[in-house]
Each structure stands twice: as structure tokens, then as C-alpha cells.
């Protein structure tokens, strides 16, 4: 089943016939059933669905942190199924950013260091790193807090750091898994605004799993999942 015709040409991300099954003890649980999906560059896509509908699984596969049992995943026209773990890691490093529900910041790193980390991994020179990180922290409104560690920040501030970390390398795709789920209403509004504004500014493609209607109204497309199938 497919909600959108899978067309690899001019698409950033193309899933064709992706199936994923998990084994839970003796039982086999299908998480995705022949899912096909095409996401265009710069698109803001929301993925909705009840718990266990397969949202996280599809995010993992789109983010190249998991592999499908069958079907293909193409990023920028390249089939990622042929890549080994090392190559996939390098593709993620250069092309994909992640925003997690639980922020997933490195607790021993300062705000600055957390945001700097992806640039460091990519081998960006120190001077350029400093400049880009400072700019990004200014954009998310945390310029004054760059020396603070995550445990010295509020939930909203942490998520801003996570957004800055995801965007600082200007990836082609950002995978966001319920980015506002752990935040209060006011903070959620700010985070949604920041994500949308910066995403548009940089031209990054967003694939967001969410239940938050404030997010979905800003998205170009809303896809609903049910029992491992795109509606």
C-alpha cells in the first residue's frame, strides 16, 4: 500500500515496498507492510498515527538507523541498501539530522559542544565550527547559554539545542521523533516556530512523527499511518 506514488526522480527520499517485521519472543509483529513513500526536497512532512502504528519504524528506516527486511530506500537517488554500516554512518553524518523526543543531548558537553559535535565529526575546521555554531545558537535564541550543560537548561532550551545540533550541518533531511511531546504548550509553540522558521530558511526537508496539531498545520503534507500502512 502507498499513500503517495513512489517516484525516485527529483525526490530526496524514496521508499519502495518497504517491509519491516519485529520478532517478539515466538511471535512475529509486522511493523511496516510494503510501504512506499516519496518526499521532495524542502518538504515538511508530518507523520501521524496511533502508538504502534509504525511511525518510529519508518522514521528509523528513513533516518538510515535501521534497515528494512525488504524493499528499497533511496536517498538523493542512491539506493542505501547496498551500503555497509560504515558507509551508512557517513551518509547519516553528512545528510541527516535527528531531533529526538527526549532531546538526547550529551550530558557532559556544553550547549556549544553539543551543537558543534556534528561539524567536528564532518571535519569542519575549528574556526568555521565556532562561527557556524554561534550563528545557529543565536538563531535558536541560546547565544547566552553556550557554556551551560544540558542539566542546566530547561526542557525547551534543551530541545532548541537539539534543533540547533540537527540543523547546524545543514543536512538534506531532518528526522524528528515527537519533538514537542515532552514540552509544555507554550514551549511547544516556540519549538514548532523555531523548527519551521529555520527549516524554511535553510531549505531542509523535515520528516516529523507527531501528535501535535500545532506542528501538523505548518506541514506541507500530513501522512497518517495505521498498522504499518500509510493511509
Amino acid at each position: 500500500m502507498s499513500a503517495t506514488a513512489a517516484t525516485a526522480d527529483a525526490t530526496l527520499l524514496c521508499l519502495s515496498g518497504v517491509t519491516k517485521t519485529y520478532r517478539m519472543g515466538e511471535a512475529t509483529v509486522p511493523a511496516l507492510r510494503e510501504v512506499s513513500l516519496a518526499i521532495q526536497p524542502g518538504e515538511f512532512t508530518a507523520l501521524m498515527g496511533s502508538s504502534g502504528s509504525g511511525k518510529s519504524t519508518i522514521l528509523n528506516i528513513c533516518g538510515l538507523v535501521d534497515r528494512p527486511d525488504c524493499g528499497t530506500v533511496e536517498l538523493d537517488g542512491k539506493d542505501t541498501g547496498t551500503l555497509d554500516e560504515q558507509a551508512l554512518t557517513l551518509v547519516r553524518r553528512e545528510n541527516i539530522g535527528f531531533i529526538f523526543q527526549g532531546f538526547n543531548l550529551v550530558p557532559v558537553m556544553t550547549t556549544f559542544e553539543n551543537v558543534e559535535y556534528p561539524l567536528f565529526l564532518s571535519g569542519v575546521p575549528a574556526g568555521e565550527r565556532r562561527q557556524r555554531v554561534s550563528e545557529m545558537l543565536t538563531k535558536v535564541g541560546l547565544a547566552d547559554l553556550e557554556r551551560r550543560r544540558p542539566d542546566e537548561l530547561s526542557g525547551g532550551q534543551r530541545q532548541r539545542v537539539a534543533i540547533a545540533r540537527a540543523l547546524v550541518k545543514m543536512p538534506k533531511l531532518i528526522i524528528a521523533d515527537e519533538p514537542t511531546a515532552n514540552l509544555d504548550s507554550a514551549t511547544s509553540n516556540q519549538i514548532v516556530g523555531v523548527m519551521h522558521e529555520l527549516g524554511r530558511m535553510i531549505g531542509t526537508t523535515f520528516l516529523i512523527a507527531t501528535h501535535d496539531p500545532r506542528l501538523t498545520v505548518l506541514c506541507d503534507r500530513v501522512i497518517t499511518m495505521n498498522d504499518g500502512v500509510l493511509q
Binding site: N60, G63, V65, D66, E85, Q86, T89, L90, R92, R93, E94, F98, F100, N104, V106, P107, V108, M109, Y117, P118, F120, L121, S122, R165
Partner: protein, 406 residues
Amino acid sequence: MKWLIFAGKNILRNRRRSLITVLITAVGTAGILISGGFALFTYESLQEMAARDSGHLIVAHKNFFTSDEDTPMQYGLDNAAEMRKRLEQDSGVRMALPRVQFSGLLSNGDKSSVFVGMGVDPAGEFYTKGPALTVASGTTLSAAPKADAPAEIMLGTELARQMKAVPGTLLTLLSTTTNGSLNALDVTVCGTVSTGVPDVDKRLVYVNIATAQHLLVTDRVSTLSVYLKDTGQTDVMRTQVAAQFPLQTVQTWRDQAYYYEAVRSLYNRIFGLLGIVIVVMVGFAISNTLTMAVVERTREIGTLRALGTLPQQIVGVFVLEGMILGGAGSLCGMLTALSTTFIFLFADFQMPPPPGRSVGYPLQINFSPSLYLLTTLVLVLLSVTAAWFVSRKMAAKPIVEALTHV
């Protein structure tokens, strides 16, 4: 550098745990260095004692060490004076001392006792013996005895006690001559000595070499003991002297130092086992610390992997953490061992007498740069290996599993 800073920050996450690991490593390192230093001091002391006793090289008749003599001095050296002169011409030789080994009975008129005697050149002999021989009473043998005076004798303290002899006491030496007949000689006790080994002191007799030769009716000597300027040159000089005197046999002090070899062998086993136990203990401590760190940081590892960190980079951070923990522990241990070495150097701590000896010896710890370097290398390598071992599986864990770890 970034990775090193990251590793350092990770270590400081759980300061108490890291501190305990560093302390365990430090105690282990200090334990190895102190016990190893003590063993080295013991080896060095025993080596010096053995070399002082026998000489670095012992030149003797080719059958001297392998066959029993039919008559005294059968396998003695002729022309010892000439050989001595040739040996002492070598710049590596400090001195060559002739010795006559003999045995017999010592009598005070009322009772007799068996003795094991040594005819020596007093000028060199008591100089080379140094602290290995303690003069308990009287004086050592005269280097140039008067022709009309009775021959001098030095007795072991225990033998002197048995014979009720003090300096000035007249005794009689009775021994078998080289032709098999008995000969007796009156001697005057000039002093008593102690080797620190009661069994030796019960039988020990020193006389001038001329006295011994007169008693045995010979001009031969049993051996020539060669004292070198550098103990490290023993093997080289042995080859050289053996080539110089092809008809004789040459042994080194090590060939004669049965006690040294036995103690060394025993200590090597004891301290080797102790070292292994300490290394295993430190290995477990570091593994435990890093295993806990790896498990606690599973989710973070998943995040870092998702962001594009390679598994080997994750392992690399843990290896650096292991290296820092092991290095810091080793450094603290080295400082502790060094401080202990200095304290023992200036404080007069005495060890009790070893079995078979009557005097104790100072407790000192040698400083050996190679031991320090080797210990540090082993412990750091162990820490690095433990870190690699505990982190490699987690770094290769599927990212999704790591991210959902609770």
C-alpha cells in the same frame, strides 16, 4: 584532542567511581613497584655478597669443581703468583686473590673441633669482603706477619665460643698434608669474625696463605678469585680469562651462588604471582568501571551513532577513558612507590634475619626506571584492552536498540 577532552569529561561524570578505579590502579601499581623494588634490592644485595665472597671469577684447576681430590691440593694451581700477575695486568680486573681451602681439627689442648679453613692474602681478602664479614673481636690477619711470631688465625664467632678462644689464645691446627701425612701447627688467635650464618661461623677459620701452605706442605693454591671493576662485565671477562688460561677452568660468582639463585628463583615466583594477582585485580576494577559506563551510556552511544559517529570512534573514546584511568592510576602509584622508596632509604627499617642467618638486613626498595616503565605500560595496556573489550560490542549494537535502551 577533542576526543581526549570528551573522554576526560566522561571520566568526570561519575567522579567517585573513577576515583576508586584510579585508587585501585594506584595501589596495584605501587604494590608491584614496591615489591619489585624490594626484590631487586634483595637480588642486588645477594649478588654483591656472593661476588664479595667468591670473587666475580674463580680460576681453578680443570678438575677442581668436578672431581674429588685424593690428597689435599691435588687439583691446586701451580705458578699462582705468575697467574695472579697476568690477571692483574688486565684493566678490568681490580685484584686477583689466591686462596687455599683446607680442613682439619682445631684444638685448644682440652678439646678439638672440626674446622673449614681458608688461607688468604689478608691485604686483599678483608678489603674485598667488606660488610660481608664482621670482625667481632680482635683484628684481622696481619698483611705482613713477623717471621719469628707464631702464625695468626681468625675464627668464626661460634667456633671461637666452642674453643673458648679470644684474641691472644694459643691453638693448634691439625690437617693432612699433600702427601697424606698429618701435620700440626701452633697458631695465635688474632680475632673473631662473623659471616652472619651461624653454621658457617661454627667451622670458619682464616689463616694467612703462607700459613696454610706451610701446614699442607705445598706451594700450590686452591683457586684464584678475580675481582672485577664492573660486575656487569663478568661474562665477557670469563671468556677472556678462559682464553688466557686454557688449561684451567673459570667459573663466575653466579655458578657458586647457590643461595642467590635459590632466593632469586623463589622471589621471582612469589613476586611474579603477586604481580599477576594485582594486574588481574586492576583489570577487573577497570573493566567493571567501564562496563558500568558503557551500559549507562547505551542510549547516548545510540545517539552518537545516529549522528554519524563510527563504531570505532565510540570504542576509541572508551579506550581513551581506559588509558586516562590506567595512566592516572599508574602515575599515582609511581609517586607512592617513589615516596616509599625515599622513606625507606632514609629511615632505618630492618628486616628480620632470613632462615639460616643470624643478622637481619636493611629494608630498602630499589628504584628501577625499567620496572616503572614496564609496570606503567602493562597497566595502561591492560586498561586500554579492558576498555576495548567492554565497548566494542556496545559500539556495534544496532542503533535502534541502543536508542530504546532504558
